[in-house]
C-alpha cells in the first residue's frame, strides 16, 4: 500500500510538472517518466498487458514523437532567431 501511495504521488507530481514546467523539453521528459510510472501502476493493478503496451507505446513511442516535435520546434526557433 505504501508503495502504491508513493507511486500515486509520483504520478501526480510528474503530471503536474509536465503540464506546468516552462521548458518544453523538460515537460516531455517528465511526460515519458509519467508514462513509465503508469506502466508500474498497471503492473500493480494486475494488468501486465497494459503495462507492456504503456511502456512501449504510451511512454516509448509517444515520447519519441513528442521529442521529435520538440527538436523540430527548436530547429525552427534557431532558424527564426538570427
Amino acid at each position: 500500500m505504501i508503495f502504491d501511495l508513493l507511486l500515486v504521488a509520483a504520478l501526480l507530481w510528474s503530471a503536474v510538472q509536465a503540464l506546468t514546467t516552462p521548458d518544453l523539453f523538460r515537460a516531455v521528459v517528465l511526460f515519458i517518466i509519467f508514462g513509465l510510472l503508469m506502466a508500474l501502476a498497471w503492473a500493480r493493478l494486475d494488468a501486465p498487458d497494459i503495462a507492456l503496451a504503456e511502456a512501449a507505446i504510451g511512454a516509448g513511442l509517444t515520447g519519441a514523437l513528442l521529442l521529435d516535435a520538440v527538436a523540430h520546434l527548436h530547429k525552427k526557433r534557431r532558424e527564426q532567431s538570427p
Binding site: A56, L61, L65, H72
Partner: protein, 222 residues
Amino acid sequence: MRTLLNVTVLFLASAFGLALGWLILDLPVAAVRLPEQVTAQLEMSGVVHPVTAVLLNFRGYDTLLEIAVLLLALLGILALPRHVSDHQHRPSSANPVLQTLTRVLAPLMLLVAGYVLWAGAHRPGGAFQAGAVLAGAGVLLHLAGLLPAWATPGRTLRAGLAVGLLVFIAVAVALMAQGTLLQYPLSWAGALILMIEASLTLSLGLILAGLYLVLTDSGVQK
C-alpha cells in the same frame, strides 16, 4: 479575461474532480459479472490468456475498428499537404557506435517481437506489444541513420500497412460464410487468431513506426 477563464476552469474542474472522487468511493456491487463469464467461456475462445481472448475474440470487433483507427491516423497524416523533400532525410549525426549497436539490436528486437506475439496466446503479450517492439526497432534504425524517413510510402509499403486490417476483415468475411461475423469455429479459433495477430503485428509495427517516420520528415508545401 484570461485569468477569469483560468480561475473558472480550475474551480469547475476541481469541483468536478471532488464530486467524481467522492462518488466512486461509494459504488454498489456491479450487477453484471463479466470476469466470470470470460472465465467460463475462455476455453471456447481458442486462447488461454483472458485479455487476448477478450481482445481478439469476445470483443474482436472493437479491435477490428481500432486497427482502422490507427491506420486512419497515419492516413490522415499522409493526406496532409506536405512538401516532399528531395534528399532523403537522415539524421546527420549518425554515431558509429549507435549504428553498430543498432545493427545488433534490430534483429534481436525482431526476435523479441516474434516471441511476444506467440506468447500472447497464453500469457501477457500479443500483437500490440509485438508491433510496438517492431516499431521501436524501426525508430532505432532511423535514429542510427540506417533507415530513411518516409516521404511518400510506395504501394508495397501501403500494402504492408494495410495487410493487418485486410487479413482481419478477410477472416471476418470468410467466417460469415458459415454463420456470423467473427464467429470462430472452436477447432480453428487458435490458428485463425494467431494468423490475424501475425499480420496485425506486421501492420502495427509498420504503422507505429510510420507515425514517427512520416512525421519526422513532415513539412509544409511552400
